[in-house]
């Protein structure tokens, strides 16, 4: 029988033990017992590909998909609570997310194909620590926090402090249990743009940008304006210099252009890789940030 003529580069997964605990408590106990010799398995869409490509080898996988504590989308007094194992497609299909957090909806809709989105989890998207993670820019711009749970303590960390380097996060032998997004004011407006290699979901982005603004109600400016970028630095980042330039001022065309330039030249520190050159990425940061700021300004002519 023909069972698949595997390419020598990929081949089978290396062997590992598999555990599927039923509760959070069981999981934390297992994590302690395995003493670092394990890897958490959520949707597996990053992890299993990495293991097939021999980028990672783990003696044991701890499947967290059965934990009720990590499941489900809830609204808690307007705060959006996403369990870590909620799939990106479930987020894209949530009417609550679509209505109240359109920028997040947009990014989840564009994360991978239907097949990937049915497995990929929001926790895995963030914990994987990829600078190109589609969930990161909108969640950074929306001021999200993540809950990290260990055997003896748990902590809330603003997403701003979560990413440390490529594939590195602040997680230390902990589980990412939940993502929380504070209630956006009704006037808040977010835009997410993803530039991919083809005009379809399924692909990791070349550059992505999320801009979130809350007008101050007067004629002059914005109470808050956050810009976050993907795939142009060792981690997903906030474009702090560009944000600083815009603080307290109306979004006039010249200023928008200047801020977009600052985001491209000072905030972004891209590398060249298979998806695009550093120069191209910078130029696209300029284009996407400018376009997003212009869009926001158009939506709120009184604030622009």
């Amino acid at each position: 029988m023909f069972c698949g003529n595997k390419s020598p580069m990929l081949g089978r997964l290396p062997s590992f033990d598999y555990y599927r605990p039923a509760t959070l408590d069981e999981t934390l106990t297992a994590m302690e017992r395995l003493n670092g010799n394990f890897c958490v398995l959520a949707g597996g869409t990053d992890l299993l590909v990495g293991m097939k490509e021999r980028r990672g080898r783990h003696p044991a996988l701890l499947d967290i998909k059965a934990l009720p504590e990590l499941a489900g989308i809830r609204a808690d007094n307007g705060t959006l609570c996403l369990g870590a194992t909620v799939t990106t497609r479930a987020i894209a299909q949530s009417p609550l997310v679509r209505e109240r957090f359109p920028m997040l909806f947009q990014s989840m809709k564009l994360l991978g194909s239907m097949q990937i989105g049915n497995r990929a989890t929001i926790g895995g998207n963030l914990a994987n620590g990829s600078p190109a993670a589609d969930g990161a820019p909108p969640l950074l711009a929306l001021g999200a926090s993540v809950k990290l749970v260990g055997k003896t303590k748990e902590r809330w960390v603003p997403l701003d402090n979560f990413f440390i380097g490529p594939k590195k996060t602040i997680i230390e032998g902990e589980l990412l249990a939940e993502v929380r997004i504070p209630t956006p004011p009704p006037s808040g407006r977010g835009i997410f743009y993803k530039l991919g290699p083809r005009n379809a979901p399924e692909d990791i982005c070349i550059v992505s940008a999320a801009v979130y603004g809350v007008p101050d109600g007067g004629a002059n400016g914005w109470k808050e304006l956050r810009i976050a970028l993907g795939a142009v630095a060792p981690t997903p980042i906030r474009a702090r210099h560009a944000e600083e330039r815009l603080r307290g001022q109306p979004l006039e065309p010249k200023l928008v252009e200047e801020a977009a330039r600052i985001a491209a030249d000072r905030d972004a520190t891209p590398i060249s890789d298979i998806r695009g050159s550093a120069d191209y990425r910078r130029e696209m940061v300029y284009v996407l940030v400018k376009r997003a700021l212009e869009q926001i300004a158009r939506d709120y002519p009184s604030a622009a």
């Binding site: 029988m1 023909f2 069972c3 698949g4 595997k6 390419s7 990929l10 089978r12 997964l13 290396p14 062997s15 590992f16 033990d17 598999y18 599927r20 597996g44 869409t45 299993l48 590909v49 097939k52 490509e53 003696p59 996988l61 499947d63 998909k65 991978g112 194909s113 239907m114 097949q115 990937i116 049915n118 497995r119 379809a200 979901p201 399924e202």
Partner: protein, 160 residues
């Protein structure tokens, strides 16, 4: 290491019990253990969709699912679509519309289309193209495939 695990899973309506190594993917399990070779493996990394099956009604890439993860679940493969020797309407319209060239993408394409139509019985062309973005056809037969899925939607809605 890597003790085999007992799993119980319903495959195409039939209850299956097996001991599987944790590192065996669902695609390998279907093809090698159950001889259900209608499920194809193209890339093995989630990119091509040839290995698409329905897991608890949802389309997934079986090359990125471990067989052990399906314990207690239900899997539909291309072999499970026809009933009593009669083709599923999607299979029939795929034949009628000349969608099959080499055929390697076809099983995954049909299951992707089934998942799409189960969720959205009346998709626009745009919906179909987006929904099947994770199913690549290296013979580039997309035009006929998109047409076929539209036609199948009509048949499944009862000709309306």
């Amino acid at each position: 290491m890597s003790r085999p695990r007992k799993i119980r899973v319903t495959i195409n309506g039939r209850k299956v019990e097996a001991a599987v190594a944790p590192n065996q993917t669902l695609a390998e399990f279907l093809r090698c253990h159950l001889s259900l070779t209608g499920t194809k493996e193209g890339c093995d990394t989630g990119d091509c969709g040839a290995c698409t099956v329905l897991l608890d009604g949802k389309a997934v890439n079986s090359c990125l699912v471990l067989a052990v993860e399906t314990h207690g679940g239900s899997v539909t493969t291309i072999e499970g679509l026809s009933s009593d020797g009669e083709l599923h309407p999607l299979q029939q319209v795929f034949i009628d519309n000349g969608t099959v060239q080499c055929g390697f993408c076809t099983p995954g394409m049909i299951l992707g289309a089934k998942a799409l139509l189960d969720e959205n019985p009346n998709p626009s062309e745009e919906d179909i193209r987006l929904g099947l973005a994770g199913n690549l056809c290296r013979c580039t037969g997309y035009v006929n495939i998109v047409k076929a899925v539209g036609a199948a939607a009509k048949v499944l809605r009862g000709g309306k």
